[in-house]
């Protein structure tokens, strides 16, 4: 196979070497490197041409048949893989409460219930948590956590008060983790 046998067309050889020269010249600045989106290429698709002209993006949109939804929806983790609640909040809640044994998890209702757990080195105190993921939106008020505490008394385990800040701090941790998960999935 001889691809460049036509001596009347010397510019072609130069043309095919230009991209490599461009790569060599630019490869030193990694901060300027970015992935190119599907709708940044020339297209003869009349769908994409219209969507680019009227909504700014040609390859987004459409009707989700399976999976995490539209590109925007994917980023927001809506309606994913049979989940009834936001996927990022759900996953973040599981991650955050994973140090405790899991008693039950309902991905459709968004309820996670842990079993009793005694922190290491403490034998007279144990904790239990119930988390509610409240909807499909990734919102700061999208998760609610209740923490229960018991202490061992002469007659066995008895309920004890828990600082209100404990649940709030766990919720903050869930939100932080959800934000991490979302940033990791950006650009899908």
């Amino acid at each position: 196979m001889i691809l460049f046998q036509n001596r009347r067309s010397p510019p072609l050889r130069l043309l095919f070497s230009l991209p490599l020269l461009g790569l060599a010249a630019c490869s030193g600045d990694s901060s300027q490197v970015r992935e190119v989106g599907r709708d940044e290429y020339n297209t003869d698709s009349r769908r994409e041409r219209l969507l680019r002209a009227t909504s700014g993006s040609g390859t987004g949109g459409g009707i989700t048949m399976m999976g995490a939804g539209t590109e925007k929806g994917q980023e927001e983790g809506r309606g994913s893989g049979g989940l009834g609640v936001n996927a990022f909040l759900w996953r973040a809640t599981l991650d955050t409460l994973s140090f405790m044994p899991l008693a039950s998890a309902d991905p459709f209702g968004g309820v996670i219930i842990t079993d009793w757990h005694a922190p290491g080195g403490v034998s007279n105190e144990r904790f239990k948590a119930t988390a509610y993921v409240l909807g499909r939106q990734l919102r700061s008020d999208g998760v609610r956590i209740s923490v229960f505490r018991q202490v061992r008394g002469p007659g066995g385990w008895v309920d004890a008060p828990v600082s209100a800040a404990t649940a709030a701090e766990l919720e903050d941790k869930v939100l932080t983790r959800a934000r991490e998960l979302r940033s990791q999935s950006a650009g899908r």
């Binding site: 067309s9 992935e35 190119v36 290429y41 698709s45 949109g61 505490r149």
Partner: protein
């Protein structure tokens, strides 16, 4: 109280430390299901348009091949056009993006039957990462995907909706991408400081396995009956210079000419190899709402750029297109001019095709627009067959049997995309 705080602080401390460790172990099934697996999206468009056509090839006398006494075509018609898209997008655990794109088209593609048959336009798979993107399947070549062309509006342009009201094969003012949906592999780089580049390779112009007749003594595999080893490359820049948006590209393609006739016989004299090049520049922001552009094709080819090989002794071809659009609110107006010159061999005058068009598009809502355009095409010295160095025989048109074909198409339509 202190004891309570100590205890609950211990719970939170454990929670803070948990995610990193937990990430190394399998999460419960619902969590994994939410984060993985491909997404499948359905998209598409529907288009309805009305065209009024004037074509000197329809007039009495007709083209050289028209039967005496035949009637002119209808000058007006409605037209439907639709495509259905399936997008499959996934992301592997290592960050690799993968998927496939299917484009089913129903664009009045055949003169027989209902004209609403379905076939695939593009159909390709892809993998993508920080290293770039690899596409494999029936897709435009890298040169077509990355070439910068002059701006236009819906329904307007050297190769746009209006030409669907004409018989196929009239236009030679086009771009690389108009002819290159053959099965191929394509690599396109990430963008480096505004620059990106790409390559593509197709073994031939066909879908792979469609006509393997290797048991025939007379009809050979068709791989060598068309151009082969089609290679394209492109480099592109997109950025902002002094407040003006700049897009520029340089691209080219190479292909070997056919070795066999359509029936499989070896060709005594092969055509020249195809070499086609393109340079394009588009600017926007010179003033609010204004975009302008120019592009130029040149090389050894005949027909649309890069489509067909030239016979020995026939000079190369050139094409220039200018375009401008102005957008104010939901309304966009535009105009394009194109001129292509191709040799007819010998002492014959060159074929010269000129396009002038103007149009507008009005956006009702995201994904829905009305468009209208008026398009004029003149085509002089059209050869009846591939020109040779002896000079081509020219087609005659109209009652006067001259060598110039004049076409005008007024177009109005509405398109809905989702």
């Amino acid at each position: 109280m202190r004891k309570i705080l100590l205890g609950t602080t211990a719970v939170v401390s454990l929670a803070l430390a948990a995610p990193a460790a937990f990430a190394q172990t399998a999460a419960p099934a619902p969590s994994l299901a939410g984060a993985g697996g491909p997404t499948i999206r359905l998209g598409g468009y529907f288009d309805f348009s009305y065209g009024v056509v004037s074509d000197s090839a329809d007039k009495a006398g007709g083209t050289g091949g028209r039967a005496a006494g035949s009637q002119s075509r209808a000058t007006t018609d409605f037209r439907n056009d639709a495509e259905i898209f399936l997008y499959v997008d996934g992301r592997a655990a290592n960050g690799l993006q993968y998927g496939a794109v299917f484009e089913l088209q129903m664009d009045n593609m055949a003169a027989t039957g209902s004209g609403q048959g379905v076939d695939f336009d593009e159909m390709y798979g892809f993998v993508k990462g920080a290293w770039g993107e690899l596409r494999f399947g029936a897709e435009d070549g890298a040169a077509g995907l990355m070439q910068v062309r002059p701006p236009t509006v819906l329904g307007l342009g050297t190769s746009a909706d209006w030409d669907e009201f004409l018989p196929a094969g009239n236009q030679i003012i086009a771009s690389f991408q108009d002819n290159a949906d053959a099965t191929k592999i394509i690599y396109m780089s990430p963008q480096f400081s505004g620059f990106d580049f790409g390559f593509s390779y197709a073994a031939n112009r066909f879908e792979g396995e469609r006509a393997d007749t290797n048991t025939s003594a007379t009809v050979f595999q068709r791989d060598n009956t068309g151009v082969t080893n089609e290679l394209t490359a492109a480099i592109r820049y997109r950025g902002t210079l002094g407040g003006v948006g700049v897009q520029a590209s340089l691209s080219g393609m190479s292909a070997e000419s056919a070795k066999q006739s359509a029936g499989g016989a070896a060709l005594a004299t092969r055509e020249r190899s195809i070499r086609a090049y393109h340079a394009g520049l588009a600017l926007n922001g010179l003033m609010p709402g204004l975009a302008i552009g120019i592009d130029y094709h040149w090389g050894n080819y005949r027909g649309a750029p890069g489509t067909t090989a030239l016979n020995e002794g026939v000079d190369g071809s050139t094409q220039i297109v200018l375009g401008a659009t102005y957008t104010v609110g939901a309304l966009a107006i535009g105009a394009q001019y194109g001129n292509a010159v191709q040799s007819n061999g010998g002492t014959r005058d060159d074929r010269t095709q000129t396009y002038i068009g103007a149009g507008l598009a009005y956006t009702f809502a995201p994904g829905m627009a009305f468009f209208a355009s008026y398009n004029v095409l003149s085509d002089e010295n059209v050869p009846t067959a591939a020109p040779t160095n002896a000079g081509a025989t020219l087609t005659t048109y109209g009652a006067n049997l001259d060598n110039k074909r004049d076409i005008s198409v007024a177009l109005a339509g509405v398109r809905l995309a989702f």
